[in-house]
Protein backbone atom coordinates (compact mmCIF):
# COMPACT_ATOMS: atom_id res chain seq x y z
CA UNK A 1 0.00 0.00 0.00
CA UNK A 2 1.37 3.38 -0.92
CA UNK A 3 1.39 5.65 2.06
CA UNK A 4 -0.11 9.04 1.45
CA UNK A 5 0.26 10.20 5.02
CA UNK A 6 2.82 12.68 3.81
CA UNK A 7 0.44 14.55 1.49
CA UNK A 8 -0.14 17.91 3.09
CA UNK A 9 -1.78 21.04 1.80
CA UNK A 10 -1.17 24.39 3.36
CA UNK A 11 -4.55 26.12 3.56
CA UNK A 12 -3.82 29.47 5.20
CA UNK A 13 -7.53 30.20 5.56
CA UNK A 14 -10.15 27.70 6.58
CA UNK A 15 -12.80 29.20 4.25
CA UNK A 16 -10.77 28.21 1.14
CA UNK A 17 -10.46 31.82 0.00
CA UNK A 18 -6.81 30.99 -0.69
CA UNK A 19 -5.85 27.99 -2.82
CA UNK A 20 -2.17 27.08 -3.06
CA UNK A 21 -1.10 26.77 -6.68
CA UNK A 22 0.90 23.63 -5.91
CA UNK A 23 -2.39 21.73 -5.61
CA UNK A 24 -2.59 21.65 -9.44
CA UNK A 25 0.90 20.24 -9.89
CA UNK A 26 1.76 17.81 -7.11
CA UNK A 27 1.95 14.22 -8.45
CA UNK A 28 1.26 12.78 -4.98
CA UNK A 29 -1.93 14.76 -4.71
CA UNK A 30 -2.89 13.50 -8.16
CA UNK A 31 -2.33 9.89 -7.11
CA UNK A 32 -4.36 10.43 -3.95
CA UNK A 33 -7.21 11.95 -5.99
CA UNK A 34 -7.42 8.80 -8.08
CA UNK A 35 -7.88 6.81 -4.88
CA UNK A 36 -10.02 9.13 -2.76
CA UNK A 37 -12.11 10.81 -5.43
CA UNK A 38 -12.36 8.84 -8.66
CA UNK A 39 -12.07 5.41 -7.06
CA UNK A 40 -13.41 6.89 -3.84
CA UNK A 41 -16.82 7.54 -2.39
CA UNK A 42 -18.32 9.37 -5.36
CA UNK A 43 -20.68 8.72 -8.20
CA UNK A 44 -18.83 9.40 -11.47
CA UNK A 45 -20.73 9.89 -14.68
CA UNK A 46 -19.97 7.20 -17.29
CA UNK A 47 -22.19 7.91 -20.30
CA UNK A 48 -25.82 8.22 -21.33
CA UNK A 49 -28.13 5.25 -21.86
CA UNK A 50 -28.94 6.59 -25.32
CA UNK A 51 -25.31 5.93 -26.31
CA UNK A 52 -25.79 2.20 -25.71
CA UNK A 53 -29.46 1.64 -26.53
CA UNK A 54 -29.39 -2.05 -27.57
CA UNK A 55 -28.31 -5.32 -25.93
CA UNK A 56 -24.58 -5.83 -26.42
CA UNK A 57 -23.85 -2.15 -27.04
CA UNK A 58 -20.78 -1.00 -25.17
CA UNK A 59 -18.77 2.14 -24.64
CA UNK A 60 -15.39 2.60 -23.00
CA UNK A 61 -15.57 5.40 -20.41
CA UNK A 62 -13.10 6.65 -17.85
CA UNK A 63 -13.32 7.14 -14.13
CA UNK A 64 -10.35 9.41 -13.57
CA UNK A 65 -7.53 7.41 -15.19
CA UNK A 66 -9.34 4.07 -15.01
CA UNK A 67 -10.86 2.71 -18.24
CA UNK A 68 -14.31 1.25 -17.65
CA UNK A 69 -16.47 -0.67 -20.12
CA UNK A 70 -20.18 0.07 -19.81
CA UNK A 71 -22.49 -2.31 -21.62
CA UNK A 72 -26.05 -3.52 -21.83
CA UNK A 73 -26.97 -7.18 -21.48
CA UNK A 74 -29.79 -9.12 -23.16
CA UNK A 75 -32.12 -8.38 -20.25
CA UNK A 76 -31.59 -4.64 -20.90
CA UNK A 77 -29.63 -4.22 -17.65
CA UNK A 78 -26.47 -2.12 -17.54
CA UNK A 79 -23.13 -3.50 -16.36
CA UNK A 80 -19.68 -2.02 -16.07
CA UNK A 81 -16.24 -3.40 -15.36
CA UNK A 82 -12.67 -2.18 -15.41
CA UNK A 83 -11.12 -2.79 -18.81
CA UNK A 84 -8.13 -4.70 -17.46
CA UNK A 85 -7.73 -8.43 -17.97
CA UNK A 86 -7.78 -10.56 -14.83
CA UNK A 87 -4.94 -12.68 -16.26
CA UNK A 88 -2.01 -10.36 -16.84
CA UNK A 89 -3.60 -6.99 -17.15
CA UNK A 90 -4.09 -6.39 -20.87
CA UNK A 91 -6.74 -4.05 -22.17
CA UNK A 92 -9.70 -6.21 -23.14
CA UNK A 93 -12.04 -3.98 -25.15
CA UNK A 94 -9.93 -2.12 -27.68
CA UNK A 95 -12.50 -0.13 -29.59
CA UNK A 96 -14.11 2.90 -27.98
CA UNK A 97 -17.63 1.70 -28.79
CA UNK A 98 -19.46 -1.12 -30.52
CA UNK A 99 -21.68 -4.13 -29.96
CA UNK A 100 -20.44 -7.44 -28.60
CA UNK A 101 -21.83 -10.74 -27.36
CA UNK A 102 -18.90 -11.19 -25.02
CA UNK A 103 -15.43 -9.76 -24.54
CA UNK A 104 -12.24 -11.66 -25.33
CA UNK A 105 -8.77 -10.50 -24.37
CA UNK A 106 -6.50 -10.80 -27.42
CA UNK A 107 -3.41 -11.67 -25.39
CA UNK A 108 -4.32 -15.23 -24.27
CA UNK A 109 -7.99 -15.26 -25.26
CA UNK A 110 -9.55 -15.27 -21.82
CA UNK A 111 -13.25 -14.76 -22.31
CA UNK A 112 -15.61 -12.60 -20.23
CA UNK A 113 -19.34 -12.08 -20.39
CA UNK A 114 -20.97 -8.64 -20.37
CA UNK A 115 -21.13 -8.65 -16.59
CA UNK A 116 -17.35 -9.03 -16.46
CA UNK A 117 -17.41 -12.64 -15.24
CA UNK A 118 -14.63 -14.90 -16.46
CA UNK A 119 -16.17 -17.58 -18.70
CA UNK A 120 -13.30 -19.14 -20.57
CA UNK A 121 -9.57 -19.88 -20.16
CA UNK A 122 -8.11 -21.63 -23.20
CA UNK A 123 -6.12 -24.78 -22.41
CA UNK A 124 -7.16 -24.60 -18.78
CA UNK A 125 -6.71 -28.39 -18.59
CA UNK A 126 -3.45 -28.27 -20.56
CA UNK A 127 -2.65 -30.02 -23.84
CA UNK A 128 -1.76 -33.68 -24.31
CA UNK A 129 -2.03 -34.13 -20.57
CA UNK A 130 0.63 -31.52 -19.86
CA UNK A 131 0.52 -28.00 -18.52
CA UNK A 132 -2.68 -26.10 -17.79
CA UNK A 133 -3.93 -24.40 -14.69
CA UNK A 134 -3.51 -25.97 -11.25
CA UNK A 135 -6.49 -27.83 -9.76
CA UNK A 136 -7.09 -25.01 -7.31
CA UNK A 137 -7.67 -22.42 -10.05
CA UNK A 138 -11.30 -21.36 -9.86
CA UNK A 139 -12.63 -19.11 -12.60
CA UNK A 140 -15.12 -17.60 -10.17
CA UNK A 141 -12.27 -15.94 -8.32
CA UNK A 142 -10.98 -14.19 -11.42
CA UNK A 143 -13.76 -11.96 -12.61
CA UNK A 144 -13.04 -8.43 -13.73
CA UNK A 145 -13.25 -5.57 -11.26
CA UNK A 146 -16.92 -4.60 -11.25
CA UNK A 147 -18.18 -1.06 -11.20
CA UNK A 148 -21.60 -0.52 -9.67
CA UNK A 149 -23.80 1.41 -12.08
CA UNK A 150 -27.03 3.25 -11.72
CA UNK A 151 -29.12 5.15 -14.22
CA UNK A 152 -30.71 8.42 -13.26
CA UNK A 153 -33.25 9.26 -15.99
CA UNK A 154 -30.89 7.71 -18.54
CA UNK A 155 -27.67 9.26 -17.20
CA UNK A 156 -25.39 6.40 -16.16
CA UNK A 157 -23.25 6.91 -13.05
CA UNK A 158 -20.72 4.44 -11.68
CA UNK A 159 -18.85 3.88 -8.45
CA UNK A 160 -16.26 1.48 -7.05
CA UNK A 161 -18.04 1.57 -3.69
CA UNK A 162 -20.87 -0.90 -3.83
CA UNK A 163 -22.46 0.60 -0.69
CA UNK A 164 -22.70 4.18 -2.04
CA UNK A 165 -25.85 6.11 -1.21
CA UNK A 166 -28.55 6.07 -3.95
CA UNK A 167 -27.89 8.56 -6.74
CA UNK A 168 -30.89 10.72 -5.76
CA UNK A 169 -29.40 11.16 -2.29
CA UNK A 170 -26.01 11.94 -3.78
CA UNK A 171 -27.52 14.57 -6.08
CA UNK A 172 -29.73 16.07 -3.39
CA UNK A 173 -33.08 17.72 -4.09
CA UNK A 174 -31.80 20.68 -6.17
CA UNK A 175 -29.84 18.55 -8.64
CA UNK A 176 -32.41 15.79 -8.71
CA UNK A 177 -34.76 18.54 -9.87
CA UNK A 178 -32.53 20.17 -12.49
CA UNK A 179 -30.79 17.10 -13.91
CA UNK A 180 -34.11 15.29 -13.74
CA UNK A 181 -35.77 18.06 -15.73
CA UNK A 182 -33.05 18.07 -18.39
CA UNK A 183 -33.62 14.32 -18.85
CA UNK A 184 -37.36 14.18 -18.27
CA UNK A 185 -38.11 12.37 -21.53
CA UNK A 186 -36.34 10.19 -24.09
CA UNK A 187 -33.37 11.80 -25.81
CA UNK A 188 -31.42 11.32 -29.02
CA UNK A 189 -27.66 11.82 -29.16
CA UNK A 190 -26.58 14.58 -31.55
CA UNK A 191 -22.89 13.82 -31.23
CA UNK A 192 -19.63 14.48 -29.45
CA UNK A 193 -17.25 17.36 -29.15
CA UNK A 194 -13.95 16.59 -27.46
CA UNK A 195 -10.92 18.54 -26.43
CA UNK A 196 -7.69 17.87 -24.58
CA UNK A 197 -6.70 20.64 -22.29
CA UNK A 198 -3.16 20.87 -20.96
CA UNK A 199 -4.22 21.80 -17.45
CA UNK A 200 -4.93 20.02 -14.19
CA UNK A 201 -8.47 18.59 -14.09
CA UNK A 202 -9.50 20.61 -11.01
CA UNK A 203 -9.27 23.81 -13.01
CA UNK A 204 -12.31 22.64 -14.96
CA UNK A 205 -14.82 22.26 -12.10
CA UNK A 206 -13.42 25.54 -10.79
CA UNK A 207 -14.08 27.17 -14.16
CA UNK A 208 -17.61 25.78 -14.29
CA UNK A 209 -18.27 27.10 -10.78
CA UNK A 210 -16.78 30.50 -11.61
CA UNK A 211 -19.73 32.77 -12.31
CA UNK A 212 -17.50 35.83 -12.45
CA UNK A 213 -15.63 35.02 -15.70
CA UNK A 214 -18.66 34.17 -17.85
CA UNK A 215 -19.03 37.53 -19.54
CA UNK A 216 -15.53 38.94 -18.99
CA UNK A 217 -13.62 36.12 -20.66
CA UNK A 218 -16.43 35.24 -23.07
CA UNK A 219 -17.21 38.57 -24.73
CA UNK A 220 -19.71 36.89 -27.03
CA UNK A 221 -21.86 36.25 -23.96
CA UNK A 222 -22.00 39.87 -22.95
CA UNK A 223 -22.27 41.22 -26.48
CA UNK A 224 -25.38 39.20 -27.20
CA UNK A 225 -26.80 39.31 -23.68
CA UNK A 226 -26.57 35.55 -23.19
CA UNK A 227 -24.80 36.02 -19.90
CA UNK A 228 -24.00 39.30 -18.20
CA UNK A 229 -23.02 40.28 -14.69
CA UNK A 230 -25.94 42.73 -14.75
CA UNK A 231 -28.52 39.96 -15.13
CA UNK A 232 -30.71 38.27 -12.57
CA UNK A 233 -28.67 35.18 -11.83
CA UNK A 234 -27.40 32.87 -9.16
CA UNK A 235 -24.90 30.29 -8.03
CA UNK A 236 -26.45 27.56 -5.87
CA UNK A 237 -25.11 24.36 -4.34
CA UNK A 238 -26.28 21.18 -2.66
CA UNK A 239 -26.01 21.07 1.12
CA UNK A 240 -22.51 19.58 0.99
CA UNK A 241 -21.45 22.28 -1.50
CA UNK A 242 -19.98 19.67 -3.84
CA UNK A 243 -22.39 20.20 -6.73
CA UNK A 244 -23.17 23.59 -8.23
CA UNK A 245 -25.53 25.28 -10.60
CA UNK A 246 -24.99 28.70 -12.16
CA UNK A 247 -28.00 30.17 -13.92
CA UNK A 248 -29.26 33.40 -15.32
CA UNK A 249 -32.16 35.01 -17.07
CA UNK A 250 -31.54 36.53 -20.49
CA UNK A 251 -33.43 39.76 -20.96
CA UNK A 252 -33.38 40.60 -17.25
CA UNK A 253 -31.06 43.52 -18.09
CA UNK A 254 -31.07 45.91 -21.05
CA UNK A 255 -28.26 46.34 -23.58
CA UNK A 256 -27.86 50.01 -22.53
CA UNK A 257 -27.76 49.21 -18.82
CA UNK A 258 -25.20 46.46 -19.43
CA UNK A 259 -23.00 48.57 -21.70
CA UNK A 260 -22.98 51.31 -19.08
CA UNK A 261 -21.99 48.91 -16.28
CA UNK A 262 -19.19 47.35 -18.30
CA UNK A 263 -17.89 50.80 -19.34
CA UNK A 264 -17.91 51.93 -15.70
CA UNK A 265 -15.92 48.84 -14.79
CA UNK A 266 -13.39 49.51 -17.51
CA UNK A 267 -13.99 46.41 -19.62
CA UNK A 268 -16.05 47.85 -22.44
CA UNK A 269 -14.78 47.20 -25.92
CA UNK A 270 -16.65 49.26 -28.52
CA UNK A 271 -20.29 49.21 -29.43
CA UNK A 272 -22.37 46.07 -29.28
CA UNK A 273 -21.56 44.31 -32.55
CA UNK A 274 -24.22 42.89 -34.84
CA UNK A 275 -24.60 39.53 -36.55
CA UNK A 276 -25.74 38.78 -40.09
CA UNK A 277 -27.72 35.84 -38.80
CA UNK A 278 -29.31 36.01 -35.36
CA UNK A 279 -30.73 32.48 -35.32
CA UNK A 280 -27.85 31.27 -33.16
CA UNK A 281 -28.54 33.66 -30.28
CA UNK A 282 -32.30 33.29 -30.51
CA UNK A 283 -33.48 31.26 -27.53
CA UNK A 284 -36.71 29.31 -27.82
CA UNK A 285 -38.32 29.18 -24.36
CA UNK A 286 -38.31 25.66 -23.00
CA UNK A 287 -36.83 25.82 -19.52
CA UNK A 288 -39.78 25.53 -17.09
CA UNK A 289 -37.91 27.70 -14.57
CA UNK A 290 -37.38 30.44 -17.17
CA UNK A 291 -33.58 30.22 -17.05
CA UNK A 292 -31.84 31.04 -20.32
CA UNK A 293 -28.67 29.28 -19.20
CA UNK A 294 -27.83 26.82 -16.48
CA UNK A 295 -24.52 25.05 -16.06
CA UNK A 296 -24.08 22.38 -13.44
CA UNK A 297 -21.23 20.40 -11.96
CA UNK A 298 -22.05 17.11 -10.29
CA UNK A 299 -18.95 16.27 -8.28
CA UNK A 300 -16.46 15.14 -9.44
CA UNK A 301 -16.37 14.49 -13.18
CA UNK A 302 -19.80 15.40 -14.49
CA UNK A 303 -21.34 18.54 -15.92
CA UNK A 304 -24.63 19.44 -17.54
CA UNK A 305 -25.49 22.48 -19.53
CA UNK A 306 -28.50 24.12 -21.04
CA UNK A 307 -27.14 27.13 -22.87
CA UNK A 308 -30.03 28.61 -24.78
CA UNK A 309 -31.31 25.53 -26.53
CA UNK A 310 -28.12 23.50 -26.56
CA UNK A 311 -28.23 20.60 -24.16
CA UNK A 312 -25.27 18.51 -23.13
CA UNK A 313 -23.69 16.27 -20.57
CA UNK A 314 -19.97 16.96 -20.27
CA UNK A 315 -17.46 14.74 -18.56
CA UNK A 316 -13.79 14.86 -17.82
CA UNK A 317 -11.19 12.15 -17.92
CA UNK A 318 -7.87 12.79 -16.22
CA UNK A 319 -4.70 12.48 -18.31
CA UNK A 320 -2.05 12.83 -15.65
CA UNK A 321 -1.38 15.84 -13.49
CA UNK A 322 -0.95 18.09 -16.55
CA UNK A 323 -4.00 17.35 -18.66
CA UNK A 324 -7.54 16.15 -19.07
CA UNK A 325 -9.95 15.30 -21.84
CA UNK A 326 -13.30 17.04 -21.87
CA UNK A 327 -16.11 15.31 -23.77
CA UNK A 328 -19.34 17.11 -24.60
CA UNK A 329 -22.25 14.77 -25.36
CA UNK A 330 -24.85 16.87 -27.16
CA UNK A 331 -28.43 15.72 -27.29
CA UNK A 332 -31.95 16.59 -28.32
CA UNK A 333 -35.31 15.21 -27.22
CA UNK A 334 -36.69 12.30 -29.20
CA UNK A 335 -39.97 14.17 -29.61
CA UNK A 336 -38.37 17.41 -30.90
CA UNK A 337 -39.46 18.75 -34.27
CA UNK A 338 -36.95 18.61 -37.11
CA UNK A 339 -36.78 22.39 -36.87
CA UNK A 340 -35.80 22.25 -33.18
CA UNK A 341 -33.13 19.64 -33.93
CA UNK A 342 -31.64 21.95 -36.57
CA UNK A 343 -31.78 24.86 -34.14
CA UNK A 344 -29.90 22.86 -31.51
CA UNK A 345 -27.31 21.79 -34.09
CA UNK A 346 -26.86 25.44 -35.07
CA UNK A 347 -26.55 26.60 -31.46
CA UNK A 348 -23.86 23.96 -30.91
CA UNK A 349 -21.59 26.56 -32.56
CA UNK A 350 -21.52 28.28 -29.19
CA UNK A 351 -20.10 25.30 -27.27
CA UNK A 352 -17.24 22.81 -27.48
CA UNK A 353 -13.60 23.36 -28.46
CA UNK A 354 -14.56 25.86 -31.18
CA UNK A 355 -17.53 27.27 -29.28
CA UNK A 356 -18.06 30.98 -29.52
CA UNK A 357 -18.63 31.11 -25.75
CA UNK A 358 -16.42 28.24 -24.67
CA UNK A 359 -13.18 28.15 -26.65
CA UNK A 360 -11.71 30.72 -24.25
CA UNK A 361 -12.00 28.38 -21.26
CA UNK A 362 -9.39 25.97 -22.64
CA UNK A 363 -7.01 28.85 -23.16
CA UNK A 364 -7.63 30.34 -19.71
CA UNK A 365 -7.04 26.98 -18.01
CA UNK A 366 -3.84 26.28 -19.96
CA UNK A 367 -2.51 29.72 -19.04
CA UNK A 368 -3.21 29.19 -15.34
CA UNK A 369 -1.66 25.74 -15.40
CA UNK A 370 1.44 26.88 -17.28
CA UNK A 371 2.23 29.84 -15.08
CA UNK A 372 1.33 28.37 -11.69
CA UNK A 373 3.77 25.52 -12.23
CA UNK A 374 6.69 27.68 -11.22
CA UNK A 375 4.91 29.32 -8.27
CA UNK A 376 6.46 29.17 -4.83
CA UNK A 377 4.83 27.15 -2.03
CA UNK A 378 3.23 30.26 -0.52
CA UNK A 379 1.71 31.62 -3.75
CA UNK A 380 -2.04 31.23 -3.91
CA UNK A 381 -5.21 32.01 -5.80
CA UNK A 382 -7.45 34.63 -4.21
CA UNK A 383 -11.13 33.64 -4.16
CA UNK A 384 -13.12 36.39 -2.50
CA UNK A 385 -15.78 37.50 -5.01
CA UNK A 386 -19.17 37.10 -3.39
CA UNK A 387 -17.63 37.30 0.07
CA UNK A 388 -15.46 35.25 2.41
CA UNK A 389 -16.29 33.13 5.43
CA UNK A 390 -19.30 30.88 5.36
CA UNK A 391 -20.04 29.06 2.11
CA UNK A 392 -23.52 29.42 0.65
CA UNK A 393 -25.72 30.37 -2.29
CA UNK A 394 -25.61 33.82 -3.91
CA UNK A 395 -28.11 35.54 -6.20
CA UNK A 396 -25.53 37.13 -8.49
CA UNK A 397 -22.91 36.25 -11.05
CA UNK A 398 -20.35 38.50 -9.35
CA UNK A 399 -19.56 35.48 -7.26
CA UNK A 400 -16.93 32.80 -6.66
CA UNK A 401 -18.33 31.23 -3.50
CA UNK A 402 -19.24 28.08 -5.44
CA UNK A 403 -15.50 27.55 -6.11
CA UNK A 404 -14.86 27.60 -2.38
CA UNK A 405 -17.63 25.01 -2.08
CA UNK A 406 -15.69 22.71 -4.40
CA UNK A 407 -12.52 23.00 -2.36
CA UNK A 408 -14.37 22.45 0.90
CA UNK A 409 -15.79 19.11 -0.21
CA UNK A 410 -12.61 18.11 -2.05
CA UNK A 411 -10.40 18.72 0.99
CA UNK A 412 -12.75 16.70 3.21
CA UNK A 413 -12.69 13.72 0.84
CA UNK A 414 -8.93 13.96 0.45
CA UNK A 415 -8.53 14.02 4.21
CA UNK A 416 -6.57 17.27 4.39
CA UNK A 417 -9.16 19.87 5.33
CA UNK A 418 -7.74 22.44 7.75
CA UNK A 419 -8.77 22.63 11.38
CA UNK A 420 -12.24 24.19 11.79
CA UNK A 421 -12.78 24.43 8.06
CA UNK A 422 -15.94 25.73 6.45
CA UNK A 423 -17.94 22.88 4.96
Amino acid sequence: MKDFAGVQVNWPRNDYSRVPYSIYHDPEIYALEQEKIFRGRCWNVLCLEAEIPNPGDFRVCHVGDTPVVVNRDDDGELYAFVNRCAHRGAEIVREPWGTAKEHTCIYHAWLYNRKGDLKGVPFRRGANGKGGMPECFDMKNHNLVKVRVTSFNGVIFGTFHHDMEPIEDYLGPLFTKHVGEMFNRPIKILGYQRQRIAANWKLYPENIKDAYHGSLLHEFNRTFGLSRLTQVAGGYMDEKHRHSILFQYKGSDSDEEALKAYIENGVKKGEIAGLNDYSMVNIIDENPFGMSTRVMNVFPNCFFHQIGNTLAMRKIRTLGVDGFELTWVLYTYADDSEEMVQHRLNQANMVGPAGLISMEDGEALEMVHRTTKSAAEDEMAVIEMGGIGSIGDRDTRVNEVTIRGFWAYYAQLMGFAPEGAEQ
Binding site: P96, W97, I189, L190, G191, Y192, Q193, R194, Q195, R196, I197, A198, L217, H218, E219, F220, T223, K269, G270, A273, L275, N276, D277, M280, E325, L330, V341, L345, N346, A348, N349, G352, P353, A354, L356, M359, E360, G362, E363, A364, E366
Partner: protein, 171 residues
Amino acid sequence: MKDMKDVVVARSNPTIPAEIRQQASELILDSVLHLDRMELEAWIDCFDQTSCYHVIPRENIDCGYPSAIIRCDSLDIIKDRLMVLDVSSKYNPHWDRHFLNGTQFQSYENGILIAHTNFMIVQSTLEGFSKLFVAGHYEDKIVFTADGAKLRERIVVLDTFSVPNLIAVPL
Protein backbone atom coordinates in the same frame (compact mmCIF):
# COMPACT_ATOMS: atom_id res chain seq x y z
CA MET B 1 -8.88 0.77 -39.20
CA LYS B 2 -10.86 0.76 -42.39
CA ASP B 3 -12.31 4.10 -43.31
CA MET B 4 -16.04 3.49 -43.18
CA LYS B 5 -16.61 6.22 -45.71
CA ASP B 6 -13.90 5.07 -48.08
CA VAL B 7 -15.02 4.72 -51.65
CA VAL B 8 -12.76 3.22 -54.22
CA VAL B 9 -11.58 5.91 -56.59
CA ALA B 10 -8.70 6.43 -58.90
CA ARG B 11 -6.12 8.86 -57.60
CA SER B 12 -6.99 11.19 -60.38
CA ASN B 13 -10.04 10.69 -62.51
CA PRO B 14 -8.90 11.10 -66.16
CA THR B 15 -12.42 11.75 -67.43
CA ILE B 16 -12.45 15.10 -65.61
CA PRO B 17 -10.92 17.79 -67.85
CA ALA B 18 -7.38 18.74 -66.86
CA GLU B 19 -8.37 22.41 -66.89
CA ILE B 20 -11.07 21.81 -64.25
CA ARG B 21 -8.71 19.79 -62.06
CA GLN B 22 -6.07 22.48 -62.35
CA GLN B 23 -8.44 25.29 -61.31
CA ALA B 24 -9.76 23.25 -58.41
CA SER B 25 -6.27 22.39 -57.15
CA GLU B 26 -5.32 26.05 -57.19
CA LEU B 27 -8.48 27.01 -55.30
CA ILE B 28 -7.83 24.39 -52.61
CA LEU B 29 -4.25 25.49 -52.18
CA ASP B 30 -5.20 29.18 -52.14
CA SER B 31 -7.84 28.57 -49.50
CA VAL B 32 -5.34 27.14 -47.03
CA LEU B 33 -2.62 29.67 -47.81
CA HIS B 34 -5.08 32.43 -46.94
CA LEU B 35 -5.71 30.76 -43.59
CA ASP B 36 -1.99 30.38 -42.87
CA ARG B 37 -1.54 34.08 -43.59
CA MET B 38 -4.68 35.03 -41.62
CA GLU B 39 -6.16 36.62 -44.76
CA LEU B 40 -9.65 35.76 -43.64
CA GLU B 41 -11.46 38.05 -46.10
CA ALA B 42 -9.64 36.37 -48.95
CA TRP B 43 -10.47 32.96 -47.46
CA ILE B 44 -14.18 33.87 -47.52
CA ASP B 45 -13.79 34.84 -51.17
CA CYS B 46 -12.94 31.22 -51.90
CA PHE B 47 -16.60 30.39 -51.14
CA ASP B 48 -19.51 31.11 -53.46
CA GLN B 49 -22.73 32.84 -52.38
CA THR B 50 -24.62 29.74 -51.27
CA SER B 51 -21.95 27.88 -49.44
CA CYS B 52 -21.53 26.02 -46.21
CA TYR B 53 -18.54 25.15 -44.04
CA HIS B 54 -18.62 22.38 -41.43
CA VAL B 55 -15.98 20.86 -39.20
CA ILE B 56 -17.14 17.38 -38.17
CA PRO B 57 -15.44 14.92 -35.81
CA ARG B 58 -14.78 11.67 -37.61
CA GLU B 59 -16.29 9.72 -34.71
CA ASN B 60 -19.64 11.47 -35.20
CA ILE B 61 -19.71 10.39 -38.83
CA ASP B 62 -18.82 6.82 -37.82
CA CYS B 63 -21.53 6.78 -35.11
CA GLY B 64 -24.10 8.37 -37.43
CA TYR B 65 -24.42 11.48 -35.23
CA PRO B 66 -25.14 14.78 -36.99
CA SER B 67 -23.46 17.38 -34.79
CA ALA B 68 -20.40 19.34 -35.79
CA ILE B 69 -17.68 21.33 -34.06
CA ILE B 70 -18.28 24.24 -36.42
CA ARG B 71 -21.47 24.38 -38.46
CA CYS B 72 -21.86 27.32 -40.82
CA ASP B 73 -24.85 26.69 -43.08
CA SER B 74 -24.61 29.94 -45.00
CA LEU B 75 -22.07 32.51 -46.09
CA ASP B 76 -23.57 34.93 -43.54
CA ILE B 77 -22.86 32.50 -40.71
CA ILE B 78 -19.30 31.99 -41.93
CA LYS B 79 -18.86 35.77 -41.88
CA ASP B 80 -20.37 36.00 -38.40
CA ARG B 81 -17.90 33.46 -37.07
CA LEU B 82 -14.98 35.44 -38.43
CA MET B 83 -16.42 38.68 -37.06
CA VAL B 84 -16.71 37.12 -33.59
CA LEU B 85 -13.16 35.78 -33.92
CA ASP B 86 -12.01 39.29 -34.68
CA VAL B 87 -13.92 41.22 -32.01
CA SER B 88 -14.42 38.88 -29.08
CA SER B 89 -12.73 35.47 -29.21
CA LYS B 90 -9.59 34.89 -27.17
CA TYR B 91 -7.31 32.05 -28.10
CA ASN B 92 -3.72 30.90 -28.09
CA PRO B 93 -1.59 33.23 -30.21
CA HIS B 94 -0.02 31.03 -32.88
CA TRP B 95 0.90 30.49 -36.49
CA ASP B 96 -0.62 27.70 -38.58
CA ARG B 97 0.78 25.91 -41.60
CA HIS B 98 -1.34 23.56 -43.66
CA PHE B 99 0.22 20.61 -45.45
CA LEU B 100 -1.92 19.04 -48.16
CA ASN B 101 -1.42 15.98 -50.25
CA GLY B 102 -2.64 15.60 -53.83
CA THR B 103 -6.37 15.98 -54.30
CA GLN B 104 -8.57 13.02 -55.19
CA PHE B 105 -11.12 14.11 -57.77
CA GLN B 106 -14.18 11.99 -57.13
CA SER B 107 -16.65 13.15 -59.75
CA TYR B 108 -17.65 16.06 -61.97
CA GLU B 109 -21.35 16.22 -62.76
CA ASN B 110 -23.67 19.12 -63.59
CA GLY B 111 -20.84 21.57 -63.10
CA ILE B 112 -20.04 20.35 -59.56
CA LEU B 113 -16.67 18.85 -58.86
CA ILE B 114 -16.23 16.68 -55.78
CA ALA B 115 -12.69 16.73 -54.46
CA HIS B 116 -11.12 15.18 -51.36
CA THR B 117 -7.82 16.42 -49.96
CA ASN B 118 -5.92 15.25 -46.88
CA PHE B 119 -4.46 17.90 -44.61
CA MET B 120 -2.26 18.32 -41.59
CA ILE B 121 -1.91 21.56 -39.71
CA VAL B 122 1.27 22.27 -37.83
CA GLN B 123 0.85 24.92 -35.18
CA SER B 124 3.72 27.03 -33.91
CA THR B 125 3.81 29.17 -30.81
CA LEU B 126 5.15 32.69 -30.83
CA GLU B 127 8.10 31.27 -28.89
CA GLY B 128 8.99 29.12 -31.88
CA PHE B 129 7.80 25.68 -30.80
CA SER B 130 5.85 23.62 -33.33
CA LYS B 131 3.64 20.56 -33.11
CA LEU B 132 1.11 18.69 -35.17
CA PHE B 133 -2.19 20.35 -34.36
CA VAL B 134 -4.79 18.39 -36.33
CA ALA B 135 -5.12 15.96 -39.23
CA GLY B 136 -8.09 15.15 -41.41
CA HIS B 137 -9.47 15.65 -44.85
CA TYR B 138 -11.52 18.14 -46.80
CA GLU B 139 -14.59 17.03 -48.73
CA ASP B 140 -15.14 19.89 -51.15
CA LYS B 141 -17.89 20.65 -53.63
CA ILE B 142 -16.48 23.08 -56.15
CA VAL B 143 -18.37 25.13 -58.74
CA PHE B 144 -17.03 27.13 -61.64
CA THR B 145 -18.32 30.68 -61.89
CA ALA B 146 -17.45 33.75 -63.94
CA ASP B 147 -15.13 34.61 -61.03
CA GLY B 148 -13.37 31.28 -61.31
CA ALA B 149 -13.56 28.16 -59.15
CA LYS B 150 -15.38 28.56 -55.80
CA LEU B 151 -16.17 26.33 -52.84
CA ARG B 152 -19.88 25.55 -52.68
CA GLU B 153 -19.31 23.35 -49.65
CA ARG B 154 -16.36 22.38 -47.49
CA ILE B 155 -16.78 19.57 -44.98
CA VAL B 156 -13.71 19.25 -42.80
CA VAL B 157 -13.61 15.70 -41.46
CA LEU B 158 -11.45 15.78 -38.36
CA ASP B 159 -9.40 12.71 -37.44
CA THR B 160 -7.97 14.66 -34.49
CA PHE B 161 -11.39 14.97 -32.96
CA SER B 162 -9.99 15.12 -29.44
CA VAL B 163 -8.90 18.65 -30.25
CA PRO B 164 -5.74 20.00 -28.65
CA ASN B 165 -7.14 22.87 -26.58
CA LEU B 166 -9.34 24.75 -29.05
CA ILE B 167 -10.12 25.69 -32.63
CA ALA B 168 -10.41 29.41 -33.25
CA VAL B 169 -9.13 30.03 -36.78
CA PRO B 170 -11.00 27.92 -39.34
CA LEU B 171 -9.22 24.76 -40.48
